[in-house]
Symmetry: C2
Subunit: 433 residues, 2 copies
């Protein structure tokens, strides 16, 4: 199978992330794609001294990438509308496949770009344009392809969701926006984020993929979150609703609804529970019902994850010589490694322990000293003298992460104490950090 | 492009759902797949009078499907280990592609099946085996293909999650299990679900796709939820943790952890908030960070959604004559319909209204009568005499779903009342039902 050569246009946040992840995970990616994927040329207005390009040719003219006969896939990461459109159309004209993270360009010029690409039989992939690292375009176009989509709704701007999450504590929009800017979550000019333009770009793209309609960004309705007050947010909560800034697309017989605006959603609905800078999209399909996709909607490597998934898709589609576009387990047979499964004694976890103690002085000290002997640190401990359980005083302990063998040895020792009755309850705990 | 003929083996819950969705959405699916996908043969032990097979040949011998030269894709929905394995190997030997929902068979016999399939250059697809309608296999093998997966953790048994959710209210395991059986969530023999065997099948498959290791179900550790008590569940909550029955796979230098057991997770982590019969899987990748996939893990049409997604994948891979395996917007150009985007006046939504009223008697009656005149029903209303806001008494109303034109007309009329000050606050509300 032939190697796939990638030319990166634009070495900003996402461009740098894409380059770094392609380099760092090169072997793993080759195992998944079934061929080597290598960056063969990079062009950007400015050189970045923090990115180690090595021998890879660099130029400041992005058209050097487009005209390089060795480049198979042009990765457009320069952003903006017109310059990006021209670059992409030029790449297509040269017969290159295109991967882009540019939601604005796709939402506004997508119909023209896709038509040109179809003419030249090249792929244009844009997963990274919507919801960063969440594979939502793939889920809609492929994973949910059996479904008539009834509607989809998304928290597709992390800045806005962060602001609304903080406003639930009674804080004003302006105050939280300023904080978000200080934290780097919000741009100096936050208009695109808080007015909903960014979300409308993404919604337009998702709606077209879900319903099979041409991209019509100019018809999307957009309303921002700037006029929301903590007063209304708390009264919505009192009614059982949470305020989220949603992009909503709904199919109705008369036509499609395509709208971005603050929205009350039932507090118990799964999308109401998505807080902070996270993005999440719910898709309601006639067969599957509601599925939700949650994750980071921005960031250098999160977005790079989607850019590279698209590059791997291109490689699998054009370079794969067999029917099995995707290998059975996601990796080429040669890349399947028989990494051993660890016996349970060797796994690492934190532990919740409940020890049923007789009401004698010193039992806590004995238990703590056993844990300490086995090198087990305590995260928290709960013992209420007043709270009898089955006639005993339970000592409840949450440990730090240790090897399971250590905790089992400590438990055996505890159970042999005369102050302890019966078995120690042990439940594993994970902090997922 | 050539049509793709599907032969369905097994007409139980998922088989019936698959047949019905393929029939109902035939046109839409053809638009997505780029070719017609038709059921050309069905075999099952029993005929189902509630499924309208029409002219499609039916037999009680599943091998009639395998031996039918017109069948391109054999859909294995008979379940179990050995009979299913034999059927699938026979289908592969005949050069048929295979789509299956059988997690047990893949977890236990997958290595052998994939080897046979590779030999014959046919596809074996098994999305429906893991987490029902959630496209988690596609997300791991394709959407997250750029990532070195650090770990994944899933609520992959809906019955278990339902039981644990109910136990948070202080109810006993046995009591909730009985209720789940009465509701049809749990099988008469609940062992597979509550002991974690079902979850271990799914975990084994996800881990192999995430880490590129052979399937090793026999090495997975399994611990059920039967010994959990409401007492420990509530004390875990007091410590800031929720108890979930998780399948966890983690890559460590020494080897892989592969384990299913009750687990404390921080209450603020997104997976802690997944309640009831829903499934959810979190994948932690080195580039993307944590993404989560939530939805129904079982059900006839939810699982059929995944079965058919796999069939469409096969069709796109083997029948597609161009580089664009997946059409740009997910639908063939000929199937793109210019369904109009509705003007905002014509969208339908519920509404939160806040009306700033002077403290005069009768204002509530006037507001209610305006809403009634415009055919707008009230879902709930809040007015606290004692609660002044900006020196006025706010009337807060949540309406039922109406057309936006109606609400705008009603608002204009309210704003012209002498009892109402300034603009009426209007925020849209969605119930997502």
């Amino acid at each position: 199978m032939k190697d796939v050569n990638v030319g990166i246009c634009g070495l900003g946040t996402v461009g740098g992330g894409t380059f770094n992840v392609l380099e760092r995970n090169a072997k793993l990616i080759a195992g998944r794609a079934g061929c080597r994927i290598q960056v063969s040329r990079v062009a950007s207005r400015r050189h970045r001294s923090d990115i180690q390009l090595g021998n890879i040719p660099f130029s400041t003219d992005i058209y050097d990438v487009v005209q390089d006969p060795d480049v198979d896939v042009v990765v457009e990461l320069i952003g903006g509308y017109d310059a990006a459109r021209e670059l992409v159309l030029a790449a297509i004209a040269e017969g290159k496949h295109v991967v882009t993270a540019n939601k604005a360009m796709i939402a506004v010029h997508g119909n023209e770009i896709f038509e040109a690409a179809k003419e030249k039989n090249v792929i244009v992939a844009y997963e990274a344009g919507v919801a960063g690292g969440i594979p939502i375009i793939k889920s809609i176009r492929e994973g949910l392809a059996a479904n008539r989509v009834n509607w989809l709704a998304g928290i597709i701007n992390g800045t806005g969701n962060y602001i609304l999450t903080e406003m639930r504590a009674g804080r004003d929009f302006e105050e939280v926006l300023k904080e978000a800017q200080d934290l780097g979550y919000a741009e100096a000019d936050p208009t695109f984020d808080v007015e909903g333009v960014d979300a409308a770009h993404k919604l337009t793209i998702m709606a077209s993929a879900a319903f099979g309609v041409p991209l019509q960004f100019e018809r999307a309705y957009t309303e921002g979150i700037g006029s929301l007050t903590p007063y209304d947010i708390s009264h919505a909560e009192a009614l059982g609703y949470r305020v989220k800034h949603l992009g909503i697309a709904r199919a109705r017989e008369e036509g499609l609804e395509l709208r971005v605006h603050p929205t009350l959603v039932p507090v118990n609905h799964m999308i109401a529970k998505v807080d902070g800078v996270l993005n999440a999209i719910v898709v309601d399909g006639d067969a599957v019902g509601q599925t939700m996709y949650t994750g980071p909607g921005a960031g250098d490597e999160a977005t790079a994850s989607a850019v590279i998934a698209d590059i791997i898709d291109v490689a699998r589609s054009v370079s794969c010589g067999s029917n099995q576009r995707v290998p059975y387990l996601g990796f080429d047979t040669d890349s399947i490694v028989d990494h051993q499964i660890l016996p349970m004694d060797e796994i690492r976890s934190a532990y919740y322990l409940r020890i049923q103690a007789y009401d004698r002085p010193g039992v806590l000290a004995k238990v703590a000293s056993i844990l300490s002997e086995h090198g087990i640190n305590i995260e928290s401990i709960m013992q209420k003298e007043s709270e009898l359980h089955d006639g005993r005083i339970p000592v409840i302990i949450l440990t730090h992460t240790v090897q399971e063998r250590q905790i089992n040895q400590a438990i055996a020792q505890m159970e042999s104490l005369p102050d302890v009755e019966g078995k120690v309850v042990r439940i594993r705990a994970e902090n997922f950090v």
